[in-house]
């Protein structure tokens, strides 16, 4: 009954050749917004420094040359800075990298130079509406597109066929599970997702209270044939067998 309803998930499964499935951990607008903020900060600092240096050297170079160079620097910083980083090996601007994000194609492959150009040049569209007296894009359109699409894509992402994913996720604090006393073979054949659940029970049991452990284990009474603490230790033994002895 439950399986017929399509369930919402933040992971996106992609089937590769030979039935191999990879899952992309799609990233939502909030971490991406923070990455954007960091990027804008970096760009701003670099531009201010470059402008000051060029303005000082303008005394020697002549004012026209210096202002031309400053405009070039502005151009490259605002249009090519993200392209340069995202087309590179890591597929992420410094801000994205510090948030653990990365840009990939919807198929999970690294993005090409052309895609980096498309998605970053369309930043102007995503940045609308502009605030007139501040040269700051509000990113209103981008945010709206992000929230309205299934894979949190802004307009540039939709045009280039890219998504932003979590590249690395900080390890969760884990409480070590109690050491297994013995290994037991499950009496029935388990499906893959059931094996996963049994193993997850052992790995995360350290985070639960004793009572809660017994409560969860009681739901699998058909598997263990036991109640309470005895059931818990039966599941632990089965998980041990599934992980080590098989």
């Amino acid at each position: 009954m439950e399986d017929t309803v399509s369930r919402i998930d933040t992971l996106q499964a992609i089937e590769l050749a030979e039935g191999v499935e990879v899952r992309l951990r799609i990233a939502g607008p909030l971490p991406r917004g923070m990455a954007l903020g960091i990027d804008m900060l970096i760009q701003g600092v670099i531009l201010v420094v470059v402008t000051i240096v060029l303005a000082i050297s303008g005394i020697g170079l002549g004012w026209n040359v210096a202002s031309g160079l400053i405009m070039l620097a502005w151009f490259f910083m605002s249009w090519w800075f993200p392209v340069f980083f995202e087309a590179g090996k890591r597929g992420a601007t410094p801000g994205k990298r510090s948030m653990g994000l990365r840009v990939v194609q919807t198929s999970g492959a690294p993005i090409t130079f052309g895609q980096a150009v498309v998605r970053n040049f369309l930043r102007v569209v995503d940045g609308m509406p502009m605030i007139p007296w501040l040269p700051i894009p509000t990113m209103g359109f981008g945010l709206a597109a992000c929230l309205a699409t299934k894979r949190f894509q802004r307009l540039g992402d939709l045009a280039a066929g890219t998504v932003v994913i979590y590249d690395k996720v900080a390890a969760e604090p884990a409480v070590p599970a109690p050491p297994p006393m013995d290994a037991a073979r499950p009496l029935v054949v388990l499906r893959p997702e059931e094996v996963q659940a049994v193993v997850a029970f052992r790995e995360r049991a350290g985070l639960w209270s004793e009572g809660r452990r017994a409560e969860i284990a009681d739901h699998a009474r058909e598997l263990t044939g036991d109640h309470g603490a005895a059931g818990v230790s039966r599941i632990m033994a089965m998980a041990h067998w599934l992980q080590e002895k098989r």
Binding site: E2, V5, R7, I8, D9, T10, L11, R25, I26, A27, G28, P29, L30, P31, G33, P129, M130, I131, P132, T138, M139, G140, L143, L147, A148, K150, F152, Y166, V169, A170, E172, V188, L190, R191, E193, E194, Q196, A197, A200, F201, R204, A205, L207, W208, R212, E215, I216, A217, H219, A220, R221, E222, L223
Partner: protein, 472 residues
């Protein structure tokens, strides 16, 4: 359960909440406005002249809207979408529930999206409530606090964006008035504002508040579900429940199968395979779509004559750049394939011979890693009881010698039987000895059955290679 439960990182939990809201966005928005409607109506009646107070009053009433959103969202997660009747029944309760605490004492609490779930869904009060919140926040509340900051910042930001989106569509005369009054704007000049601007600002603020609050309530609910998944193992519990149902189901199914084994199956006769195929093929996935693209012809360029000189300079520049790139490419190719010019490794027929492998099947077969007299050393090791080492020395010595002096091409990825086949094909005289050695080695390595002393002595005595590795 209409969402995938699994232990997630905090930000992924927020994303899950956003995805949940997106699914029922319009319904949730309607619920939010329903919750806020009394205050909106009141304030538009009495506070029309004071837009700041109007927005503040609506802001203060916001938790009621969030409560209705949470009510729908939480029930939807567990598979039942509440109808409007039950939402309406919930509405007065949402207005008064823990009024003093939620609407006055904790109105500024940054944890509201998370704690509201505890008081609304778990119905906890007083000590139990605060203990529960402490427990939930033990996994860290940095994401919740960051979410609160996002909420404040985004409300202002989106309100600005909405005002300027509206400004984009203004007729010219009105736009003039707006920009003048915005230029002269200060906190005490509300009265001199054009009424259309004040109204647009107010409405933008309400719109931004509704969007941000609906989505951030969803995000807070996502964090709440994720925290509970971590500390209570919801996902494992559900998986075990399904497992239990399946096992109970199979026990029942076996019984019914035994009971019904004699009964003829009438249901199968009704659908013939032809019907099934026709039904499957009627699916829209099987219709053939044709799309035709027309590539526009590029017309010959013209209109550049005015800047002929500039074009010539540009052309020259491109030409020199192309030459420089070509030279750089050739130099890089030479550098990249410099080993082809070395001459030392080139085969007699000028064919490129791959360098002999250093490692085969994870064993080091470089000649300098072996002793000069392999069989003597192996016999010595065997004598002191290090049998595995002795056999492996013998085997990898044989492979190394075959590569070095026998001229057999063995790749790094070859298995034992690959090696045997190659030796049989390329170095016939060694094949008999090598197959015996391989068999003994495989028995020991994979079967853990050591050959007798006699056999080892034979293998060492029959060593067919020159004692010292021949020069290449």
């Amino acid at each position: 359960m209409t969402a995938e439960l699994r232990p997630r990182s905090d930000w992924e939990a927020v994303d899950l909440g956003l995805a949940l809201v997106r699914r029922d966005f319009w319904r949730l928005c309607a619920c939010w406005w329903l919750g806020l409607s009394p205050m909106v109506i009141l304030s538009f009646v009495f506070l029309r002249e004071l837009p700041v107070l109007l927005v503040l009053a609506c802001w203060w009433w916001m938790p009621v809207g969030s409560r209705l959103v949470l009510f729908v969202l939480s029930r939807r997660l567990f598979g039942e979408l509440p109808d409007w009747k039950s939402v309406l029944r919930e509405w007065p309760r949402a207005c008064v529930r823990r009024f003093g605490f939620r609407m006055i004492w904790a109105r500024f609490s940054p944890w509201r999206p998370l704690t509201m779930a505890v008081e609304d869904l778990e119905r906890l009060r007083g000590k139990a409530y605060s203990a529960r919140v402490r427990l939930l926040l033990r996994r860290g509340d940095s994401t919740v606090v960051l979410l609160a900051m996002w909420r404040a910042a985004l409300t202002f930001w989106l309100a600005l964006a909405a005002v300027y989106t509206a400004a984009m569509f203004l007729p010219a005369g009105e736009a003039e008035k707006w920009s003048v009054s915005l230029d002269e704007w200060s906190s005490d000049s509300w009265s001199s504002m054009p009424p259309s601007l004040a109204m647009t600002g107010t409405l933008s603020f309400l719109l931004a508040m509704s969007l941000v609050d609906v989505f951030s309530t969803g995000a807070g609910f996502g964090i709440y579900v994720n925290h509970r998944t971590w500390i209570e193992g919801w996902d494992v519990e559900l998986a075990f429940r399904r497992l239990g149902n399946r096992l109970r189901g199979t026990a029942g199914a076996v019984l019914t199968a035994i009971l019904l084994v004699a009964a003829p199956s009438a249901a199968d006769a009704e659908t013939t395979p032809g019907d099934v195929i026709a039904e499957v093929k009627a699916d829209p996935d099987f219709t053939v779509h044709t799309e035709t693209y027309r590539v526009p012809n590029s017309s010959g360029g013209s209109g550049w004559s005015g800047s002929g000189e500039l074009l010539a300079t540009l052309g020259q520049l491109v030409f020199y750049l192309a030459i420089a790139a070509a030279i750089a490419f050739v130099v890089w190719m030479i550098w990249r394939f410099r080993h082809l010019f070395g001459g030392g490794r080139a085969g007699p027929a000028g064919r490129r011979v791959p360098p002999p492998p250093r490692v085969v099947m994870g064993m080091d077969v470089a000649p300098e890693s072996l002793p000069d007299d392999v069989p003597a050393k192996a016999l010595e090791l065997w004598g002191v009881g290090r049998r595995q080492e002795a056999m492996s020395l013998l085997y990898r010595g044989a492979i190394s010698r075959l590569i070095e002096s026998g001229g057999v091409e063995i790749a790094e990825s070859d298995t034992e039987s690959d090696c045997l086949r190659r030796v049989a094909a390329e170095a016939e005289p060694f094949a008999a000895y090598f197959s015996g050695l391989t068999e003994a080695w495989m028995r020991l390595a994979y079967g853990r059955s050591a050959p007798g002393d006699e056999r080892i002595r034979d293998l060492c005595a029959g060593w067919p290679f020159a004692l010292k590795g021949g020069p290449r």
